[in-house]
């Protein structure tokens, strides 16, 4: 059963342009997917693809323009006031920059105790012993509770941020690039920790990242976004290894592989990501797609089943044949 279901989610931001008139940033446009309980759902894409905006809409940090988000059969977008507050405790987040997401003037222990005091109405003493449990859970020594963020390393800060997110016993975590500011060896520690926590606590993850090797290592399902739209969606290895959308192919072929013996056909995409103020008509990827045809400019491709994944491309079958040939 799916724990989280996103239906037709759209987020437009108003943008001022010149003296007159306004423009619209199409950050996320009509996106739908489901996340199973206990799985890791990878959301990948380059800057400006809308992946972080999508994560923030799910958390209701920002309000979606349209669409529905179902969490445990409850419509999150319809909740207001107290029900929203209590339901939202079930969904927590860990962000990219751990130093930035912790209050520099607050000791790590106080930061972790805050949600316990505010939401679970714990007394100071109760919270304190709980903080020590949480610190142990994320592999930190109890003495870290007395430290300020600047006294901790990036990896330690990220562990504190994870402990804080876990304090209110959520079921679902939005992990927005949680390891991209960390070195490889520290990233490995944090990724292992997240996997362990998921196994022990039965957590469900939405893992937002631009790091495709990370997704291939830990995601069960993956959605590839480009300019606010899902290009391809499916089981992680199906998408990564046998994806049929030309953007998926190009994206994965662009990742440098730490294996000098392996030579792959690289598809180097021309040009840059267009502005989300005026996304291209039809298929948003068409301006950089080496296979684009007239139909791509006129008709927006919808997600459909192609060779074991769901792909939004009119010509997926023939492109896969050509690339594999």
């Amino acid at each position: 059963m799916s724990l989280l279901r996103v239906e037709g989610l759209t987020k437009h931001f108003p943008a001022r342009e010149g003296f007159l008139g306004t423009a619209t940033i199409h950050a996320v446009d009509d996106v739908s997917f489901e996340i199973e309980e206990g799985e890791t759902f990878g959301l990948v894409g380059e800057s400006g693809s809308g992946k972080s905006t999508l994560g923030r809409c799910i958390l209701r940090i920002i309000e979606p323009t349209a669409g529905r988000i179902w969490f445990d059969d409850q419509d999150l977008t319809a909740l207001r006031g107290e029900p929203l507050r209590t339901t939202r405790l079930r969904l927590q987040a860990v962000f990219q920059n751990p130093m930035g997401s912790l209050n520099p003037r607050m000791r790590a222990g106080t930061a972790i105790a805050e949600p316990l005091r505010v939401h679970l109405k714990m007394t100071k003493v109760e919270a304190e012993s709980h903080v020590h449990e949480l610190l142990a859970r994320v592999g930190l020594h109890a003495e870290v509770a007395q430290r300020y963020p600047h006294e901790l390393s990036g990896g330690q800060c990220q562990r504190v941020a994870i402990a804080r997110a876990l304090a209110v016993e959520p079921r679902f975590l939005v992990l927005d690039e949680p390891t991209s500011s960390l070195d490889v060896s520290v990233q490995a520690q944090i990724v292992n920790l997240l996997k362990d926590l998921q196994g022990d606590l039965g957590l469900t993850y939405l893992f937002i990242t631009h790091d495709l090797s990370l997704v291939s290592y830990l995601a069960d399902h993956v959605a590839v976004m480009y300019l606010g739209k899902i290009m391809e969606l499916g089981k992680a290895l199906e998408v990564l290894e046998r994806g049929s959308h030309p953007y998926t192919r190009a994206l994965f072929s662009a990742v440098p592989v730490p294996d000098p013996g392996r030579k792959r056909g690289r598809i180097v995409l021309p040009g840059e990501i267009p502005s989300s103020l005026e996304p291209p008509s039809g298929c948003r990827f068409r301006t950089r797609c080496p296979w684009a045809q007239e139909r791509c400019a006129q008709e927006q491709p919808l997600l459909r089943d192609v060779r074991g994944t769901r792909t939004a491309c009119h010509f997926a079958e023939s492109i896969v044949e050509e690339v594999s040939a």
């Binding site: 990233q187 990724v191 631009h210 090797s213 290592y217 990564l240 072929s253 662009a254 440098p256 180097v268």
Partner: protein, 324 residues
Amino acid sequence: MKALLEVRDLSLDFETEGGVAKVLDRVSFTVSESEVFGLVGETGCGKTVTALAILRLLPSNAKIRGGNVVFLGEDLLLKSEAEMNRIRGIRISMVFQDPATSLNPVYPVGEQIARVVMVHEGVERGAAEERAIALFRRVGLPDPENLLRRYPHELSGGMQQRVMISMALACRPKLLIADEPTTAVDVTIQAQILDLLMELRREFKLSVLLITHNLGIVAETCDRIGVMYAGTMAEVASTQDLFREPLHPYTQSLLKALPRADARGHPLASIPGMVPSLLEPPTGCRYHPRCSFAMPTCSVRRPELLEHRASHAASCLLYEGVTQ
């Protein structure tokens, strides 16, 4: 192959408020002519400082304690500032990580390149601008004539980095130092920039010192690689040898820590502990407190960077014992 640049036993300290940080400890490597040499390592390992030391662009609190930087047979550490000015940008140039802060925001990009050519080669403005246009065209920037009058903020990150590359090549250097040239851009743009660098390297017969933390990038672009750890050179080898048969325990752990599809379901290898403070680096081998193969001597004796296989050097006592 002839050596173009030879860094020999380079040691340097930073004098900080907290004490003396021993930032580089006897770092050695060679970049041959027309070679791409990759310098990899995690944050704070000293790879950028090494590059800045080569160009003598170190901050004023840096003190070089010993070693040589031999470029085309001459020690750059013995050169006067005036002599260095005739080497920087002409014989050796550098591309930095963040093009947005490397370009001057108040001058058009064409002006910035033209000035490099005018200052270094004493040519007229018209000729310098012609050169800038040709370079813009060569690095694949659209509408180069018009671009001459554009300001950095009007360009995307990928375009800014192309401008930086064209500026670095303006005086046809022998050696290009590229410090994390693609860290600030997306993967599809990264692929474009790396392809461009590799094309230009052949065309201009450049040697490249590529600094990065990305092991994928070095695997795909470099001929040889040096792995740095906490201010020391852990291992130097050809790209094939380094990935096929890494000798240093640090390199081995680093490669195992990389997430990849075929490791699914298994925990990633992680290195216990943290990178040490360089104010008080560990005695002996700087990696020994985190090394799973550490022996009692490792905390006492400093390993030498020695060739334990043909053209494959590592600084690790495990191998010194074997070879003796």
